[in-house]
């Protein structure tokens, strides 16, 4: 096998670009800044307590009967969108209604009547022998026909 050392052929421009890339990479990580596709890569970094704060979505029909909305069972594009609830207080009522209606659209497509969507803040104990789930009504929204 013939190996030839061609020596250094890296221009100042290339060198500068490499360092600029690594600088952005480092800054976004250490400054905990999300600049897609650069990321702070905080994956499971916080200690998880035995209580998990989460959201529960319920579609309510005209008789007040609630039907569970499982985002994980809805099409992929809808999953994880409960993250939007963290900023719900900052949204207008119309924007909230639009989001809630989108969550119930698959149910409506199946012929389920939906008068309103109730969003509960829930506290779930992750241990099998833990206390029952507690829930508090946070929002009522949606209801498009």
């Amino acid at each position: 096998m013939q190996v030839v050392d061609e020596g250094s052929m890296v221009s100042r421009w290339t060198r500068g670009c490499v360092y600029a890339f690594l600088l952005v990479f480092a800054v976004t990580r250490f400054a905990q800044f999300e600049l897609f596709p650069f990321s702070a890569f905080r994956l499971f970094s916080e200690v998880r307590p035995d209580e998990r704060h989460s959201w529960q979505l319920r579609a309510v029909d005209g008789d007040g009967i609630e039907t569970e909305i499982h985002l994980s069972k809805l099409p992929r594009g809808t999953r994880h969108t409960t993250e939007l609830l963290g900023g719900f207080d900052d949204l207008s009522a119309a924007a909230r209604d639009e989001i809630c209606d989108d969550w119930t659209q698959p149910l409506r497509d199946d012929g389920v009547e939906v008068s309103v969507v109730r969003v509960y803040h829930i506290v779930v104990h992750v241990r099998p022998d833990g206390p029952p789930t507690r829930r508090t009504l946070s929002y009522e929204c949606g209801g498009a026909t």
Binding site: M1, Q2, V3, V4, D5, E6, G7, S8, M9, V10, T14, R15, C17, V18, F21, L22, F25, A26, R29, E34, L35, F36, P37, F38, S39, A40, F41, R42, L43, F44, S45, E46, V47, R48, P49, D50, R52, S72, L74, P75, R76, G77, T78, R79, H80, T81, E83, L84, G86, G87, A95, E98, I99, D101, D102, Q105, V124, V126, R127, P128
Partner: protein
């Protein structure tokens, strides 16, 4: 700048711009193009067609868009990206086709991340491919010439992969300290996994969660693997073993949580293993065998 800082900068510069074989850059880009094509073909991006406009929360470079594009545009992006990836594998107009494949995945992954939650699944692939997109082109797979011009794409990719793993562990140490290992943290993570309903089975997560000592050991092992990423920058021989360790890590995350980090493992495999050297050795071995057979016939 003090002498010590100058020395550190000089050392870093020499490491980053050390000579590597030209063929390794070609091999890495070929494999990376194949991985991008695979991701475009099998990834979750088609599910975006179902995403309602109100749920669109664009990442920074899509902020000019009011809503995600029509389904046809997303499918076109996917198809164009896959075709470009195949052409990049074949080496046809390599820079352009690789850039198109990479851009297609970048935009589709960005649309996927524009749902209020950053998705990390494609990020190492996108970052390393971004480096290789800028690397020199027109190289042959078995090109043995060595230079810093082909060293920086290899070394920068190594640094990116190692940094991602190291700082993922580092964030755990910074955010949680020893409690990440010593508290019931991992038991709670494992018990919580079954509530998500995404894992292929609950048995693995419950097996770990029900055994406190095992939970602490798994947490410690995770941190050791992640923080141990620095070793791949120093010792070449560690790299294949590190790849085995992170593959096991990602496999266990899939089994316990149903989270798909296959692109992390794929990217690590391309960067940590010197496929060019293996290919060269295989070709040399085949040549030696052929010569020896001819020798026998002549004799």
């Amino acid at each position: 700048m003090t002498a010590r800082v100058q020395r550190v900068v000089g050392l870093s510069d020499r490491w980053l711009f050390a000579p590597e074989a030209a063929g390794r850059v070609r091999t890495m880009r070929l494999l990376m193009a194949a991985l991008i094509g695979l991701r475009l073909a099998t990834g979750p991006h088609r599910g975006l067609a179902t995403e309602p406009a109100a749920l669109f929360r664009p990442v920074w470079f899509l902020s000019w868009m009011e809503q995600r594009p029509q389904d046809g545009v997303l499918v076109a992006l996917q198809v164009v990206g896959m075709v470009a990836a195949v052409l990049a594998v074949l080496g046809w107009r390599e820079r352009g086709t690789f850039l198109i494949a990479w851009s297609s995945l970048l935009f589709l992954a960005a649309f996927w991340a524009s749902r209020g939650k950053i998705q990390h699944n494609d990020l190492p692939l996108l970052l390393v491919a971004g480096v290789l997109a800028a690397a020199p082109v027109g190289l042959r797979l078995l090109d043995q010439r060595r230079s810093a011009a082909w060293g920086w794409p290899v070394r920068t990719s190594l640094l990116v992969v190692a940094s991602i793993y190291f700082l993922t562990g580092f964030q755990k140490v910074v955010a949680s300290g020893p409690a990440w290992v010593l508290s019931d943290n991992l038991r709670n993570v494992m018990y919580g996994a079954r509530l998500n309903g995404q894992a292929p089975t609950d048995q693995v997560s419950l097996f770990i969660a029900d055994r406190p000592v095992l939970s602490h050991l798994v947490a410690l092992g995770t941190l050791v693997v992640e923080l141990g990423a620095v070793t791949v920058l120093v010792w070449v021989r560690v790299r294949p073993w590190y790849l085995v360790a992170v593959t096991v890590l990602h496999g266990s995350i899939y089994l316990t949580h149903g989270l798909d980090y296959s692109m992390w493992a794929g990217t690590a495999a391309i960067v940590l293993v010197d496929w060019h050297a293996l290919l060269t050795r295989a070709v040399d071995h085949r040549g030696a065998m052929a010569r020896s057979r001819r020798g026998v016939v002549v004799a």
